[in-house]
Amino acid sequence: MSNNNSYLSNYFHRNGRALGSIGYFVLLMVIFLIGAPEAWIRPNLHQSVFVMMPTLIFLTIPLVFLVASGEIDLSFASTYAVAAYVFALLVKNGVDPAICLVLGIFTGAAIGALVGTLIVVFRLSSLVASLGVLFLLRGVILLLSNSRSITIMEVENHWIYPLLVGNFYGFPMQIFWAAIFVIFCYYFFNKHVFGIHIQHVGDNSVSAEQMGINVNAVKIKAFMFVGIGSAIGGIFTTMITYTFFPTQGFGYLLLALAAVFVGGTPYWGGLGTIIGAVFGVGIIAYMEIGIIAIGWSGEWRQFFNGLIILLALLGHRLHGERVR
């Protein structure tokens, strides 16, 4: 019996936060279903959500790693556009889109490494420093692109288009890739040295250092991973819409951050949940689209986004404060 108790209590310690955000998601669905059953039954509501979700997943899940390591990054919303710009510009200049994809992702990783190194080496506040980089990179993009968008219809004829963002018997391929990404990240976070070291570093970096973990390297890698995720998100969106536009990604800044925290990853580091974050993304995406779908005006959207963040935080409080 007591063995059962310890098993249950350990289970809740590990999964309580993820279960919490699954709970909110279910609650939200029930409210939509009761509030606007006819809108909820229409398949195009869910289709719109599923178009939005993959991009948000590529942005949000790597942020879980970074937040668990005890840092934060806001610059990802601009990295997203820089990588998309590199991709679109190269495609426009006749480079093979597969190579452009690799170079775009490489750009994201490089920006992440630079931001991470800047913050770790000079011991800057990651919140403030990445806010600076967010504006700086956006400025660079606006200057380089002359505030003009780039249309890349030609990408449709290349083999990577159907593979990455095409329709497979009506099923959007980007959902498939986002699902692969989630599964990979689940194991990467929970069963891989990278994720485990991130959790130790975010929990108590002095202890981690004493036990031989290279704290700075772990944090820089986490920043790089955020850069890679942002690049994938930006390039996928550019391919889906055939267009790079210079303000691209800005709208995702607060949504992705909200999804991390609504998803049950605490802000203080050491803990994180990938499954929770997926449902966090679900909640945010359904809020964005659902409010309109049930016939309310768009003005309500921000109001409810704010409300759900606060309610989620209060709910996650039930899983307790930080243990020291």
Binding site: N5, S6, N10, K191, N204, V206, A208, G270, R322
Partner: protein
């Protein structure tokens, strides 16, 4: 009995200050040595020299009877000397198993972790060291443990790292009576497994209870060494301490 480590006339200076002056100390297999001395007596310097954080300016360090040159932290760990730091170097939100394997995870190729083997090994270690509560297993978060139990996790990690000698730096600081007893039980289990412990503390009663031998340090010098069977109460130890300290 085999000497795990021997410090022979070790001197350590910082600038003009002699922190250790011709200190000699040995720890044999399976014994618990209590290191006592006032604040500033040089306990900290002695420990740091022992575990290789400092290398001695003069004198020799012998591991299992053999002299070692260019003594450092890596050589100390390779020789089976593990320190349990005062703050224990734990990450409280993580599980016991993650803490025991922190930085030394058992890995498959590409860095994925052998989770089942780690959990099995961690459960074996915490039972060996004396965790009896059925409410605690390898997957319990360290943050749910008491101070004494956390010390136990740190000791279990030292054993996993193949420690022959575990240096416990003030392990009973800020612990209740009950928790102190737990730490003593862990130490006795370490001794039973034929490993050695160097126990540093400023509570004479704690040191007296757990140690087989006492080393008294004052102003950087080892001023007295005695076996527990030479005395019969902690008060006697205290008297010897008073008589030796400041008398030389």
């Amino acid at each position: 009995m085999e000497n795990i480590i021997e410090l022979d006339n070790v001197t350590k200076r910082f600038g003009g200050i002699t922190a250790l002056n011709k200190a000699s100390l040995k720890v044999t297999r399976g014994e618990v040595v209590g290191l006592i001395g006032d604040n500033g007596a040089g306990k900290s310097t002695l420990i740091k020299t022992l575990v290789g954080v400092y290398s001695p300016d003069e004198g020799d360090i012998l591991i299992r009877g053999k002299k070692v040159n260019a003594w450092n932290a890596l050589k100390a760990r390779e020789s089976g000397i593990e320190t349990v730091f005062q703050d224990r170097a734990l990450t409280p939100q993580q599980s016991i198993v993650k803490n025991i394997f922190m930085g030394k995870e058992l890995r498959y190729p590409f860095g994925f972790i052998k989770e089942k083997e780690q959990i099995f090994e961690a459960n074996r270690l915490i039972r060996e060291i004396g965790f009896t509560s059925k409410l605690i297993n390898a997957e319990s978060p360290v943050g749910n443990l008491s101070g004494g139990e956390r010390q136990g996790v740190a000791i279990a990690r030292a054993i996993y790292n193949k420690a022959e000698l575990i240096v416990l730096d003030e392990p009973t600081n800020n612990l209740s009576l009950n928790e102190t007893q737990k730490v003593f039980d862990f130490v006795l289990n370490v001794k039973k497994s034929n490993r050695s412990v160097l126990f540093i503390g400023h509570n004479i009663y704690h040191v007296y209870d757990i140690s087989d031998r006492f080393v008294i340090l004052d102003r950087g010098e080892v001023v007295h060494q005695l076996n527990k069977n030479e005395i019969s109460t902690p008060e006697e130890l205290m008297k010897i301490m008073r008589d030796t300290i400041g008398a030389h």
